[in-house]
């Protein structure tokens, strides 16, 4: 099974930019019912464990929060590789640096270009890691935060976001040839605040098989994945 965990991938943008590879056989919006805020770590942890983790993850220490495999659906797979997913294998150093530059931008010490160049560098690193591992394990999860990181400073700039979505669509395109079960999922969507972007509840999911899901909650994928793992491994 392959999971593309795409931070802040927004259903309206996927449709607007006509991302054909991201829109697989079945796709739609996810529900974030029960979450008071669209917090990245909370949502990915909830996706992994199948339950709302909001109360268990304090904001102050959220980026260091780490789940054990036994707490997640990973335990249903004989082997797995999880690249950079928050709450599990998050690359602390890379993302700390991104957040430092993001803060610097708001303090007028860093330019958008400096920040974005780091984001793209980290993205390329994840892409290399992901494609190196493709096909080696029964479950591969690749996390890409490009839409979130670029979107926070530029979601209102359509041309820039079109490039981001095109890149993510390309990754999905390269994975698409695989016979395996493919889930593409985001933690939340995004909405424009002038040129900037704020988290929204317009999350996205996409499957290469038809399961007939209807506005699935982000926590409900736990059972779906468990069923797939049990039937295939």
């Amino acid at each position: 099974m392959i999971i593309l965990a795409l931070d802040a991938l927004d259903i309206h943008c996927v449709q607007k930019f006509d991302c054909k590879n991201l829109m697989q056989k079945e796709y739609g919006q996810t529900s974030l019912k029960g979450f008071s805020q669209e917090r990245t770590v909370v949502l990915w942890a909830s996706f992994l464990t199948g339950r709302n983790m909001e109360k268990e993850i304090p904001i102050k220490t959220q980026w260091e929060f780490k789940l054990q495999p036994e707490q997640t659906f990973l335990k249903f797979f004989p082997d797995y590789r999880v690249i950079d997913l928050p709450a599990f294998s998050y690359k602390q150093r890379n993302h700390e640096e991104e957040r430092r530059l993001l803060k610097g931008y708001f303090e007028d010490e860093v330019t958008v270009e400096e920040y974005e160049s780091l984001v793209w560098r980290n993205h390329e690193e994840n892409k290399r890691d992901f494609f190196r591992e493709l096909g080696k394990t029964s479950l591969l999860i690749g996390y890409f935060n490009l839409a979130d990181a670029i979107g926070h400073l530029s979601f209102g700039l359509t041309e820039k976001m079109a490039v981001v979505y095109e890149e993510l669509d390309k990754i999905a395109g390269e994975v698409r040839a695989s016979e395996e079960f493919i889930l593409i999922i985001s933690d939340h969507g995004m909405k424009a605040v002038g040129r900037y972007g704020d988290h929204s509840s317009n999350g996205f999911y996409s499957l290469n098989r038809e399961l007939g899901l209807n506005l699935p909650e982000i926590t409900s994928f736990y059972n779906t994945i468990r069923s797939i793992a049990k039937s295939e491994y």
Binding site: Q37, E38, R39, T40, V41, I59, K60, Q62, W63, R99, L102, K103, F106, H152, V193, G194, R195, Y196, D198, H199
Partner: protein
């Protein structure tokens, strides 16, 4: 009189008179900027020389000295019933843009106005916003209801068909009335010229810079310009590709985003 300006003026005056007829306790907001000064002038014209309701100036304490001088001169000359609203409590506690621009605006502008509305029980406020200022303002109506937290539901606004402005029957805290909504920045300047209206000297270029939009001193940035007369300003706007409120609006959005990212734990 220029036929276009005559049409704009006619419509604005009709809206102001309609507001006066529909609301018991009306007031007009005046920042001392060019747009709100034009609105004051239209109010004067609508009621034959004397504005029959209070003029509210929200004083953040951080305005340019030229704005205070201009305010006091015009208030005296035009015989305005001027109310100055200040959030003294926030000012005493040291509220300033350094504490966060969004928080500062909320406390010194929004909160000051909320308190005044509560105290004076105004049921409608005339404001000088224009549709061409910002994308979100393009969605505004001439009569725009607000709830007690000043929230505006742009997806649920009264229809304004055939220039009929109706007060919604549902519960609302106060109505915002926008008689300048259909004007553009150039219309405002052409009207200022035609009516020979006084405007703040900060709008005219000095040492290669001028203010295109006036706000609080720490949060308003001048633009490079050599336009030192109204004609030159009109010419400059006609060729400019920079939005009027670019500096000010972006500051607010930037402040909002910074606060949101903080609340999400990014910073």
């Amino acid at each position: 009189m220029n036929a276009r300006l005559q049409e704009l003026e006619k419509r604005s005056i009709a809206i102001i008179r309609e507001a006066k007829a529909q609301f018991k306790n009306l007031a007009v907001l005046w920042s001392t900027g060019k747009d709100s000064t034009v609105v004051l002038w239209l109010c004067k014209k609508a009621f034959f020389g004397k504005i029959p309701f209070p003029v509210v100036h929200i004083d953040t304490g951080y305005k340019f000295p030229e704005m205070y001088r201009f305010r006091d001169e015009i208030a005296r000359e035009w015989g305005l019933d001027l109310i100055i609203a200040r959030n003294e409590e926030a000012l005493k506690s040291g509220m300033s843009p350094e504490k966060g621009r969004l928080e500062c605006c909320t406390q010194l502008k929004t909160e000051a106005l909320k308190r005044l509305l509560k105290e004076r029980k105004f049921d409608a406020l005339i404001l000088a916003i224009r549709r061409d200022e910002h994308g979100i303002r393009a969605k505004e109506r001439y009569f725009s209801p607000r709830d007690e937290d000043f929230r505006w539901n742009y997806k649920d606004q009264p229809a304004e068909l055939w220039d009929i402005y109706v007060k919604p029957s549902e519960d609302f805290s106060h109505m915002r009335v926008h008689p300048l909504l259909h004007w553009t920045e150039i219309d405002v300047w052409e009207y200022v010229k035609q009516e020979n209206l006084p405007v703040n000297p900060l709008y005219f270029a000095r040492n290669g810079k001028r203010y295109r939009s006036l706000g609080c001193m720490p949060c308003t940035v001048p633009i490079p310009s050599t336009a030192s007369t109204i004609d030159e300003i009109i010419q400059e706007i006609k060729t400019s590709k920079i939005p009027e409120r670019a500096g000010r609006a972006q500051d607010k959005e930037k402040a909002y985003m910074m606060q949101k990212l903080r609340s999400l734990g990014y910073m």
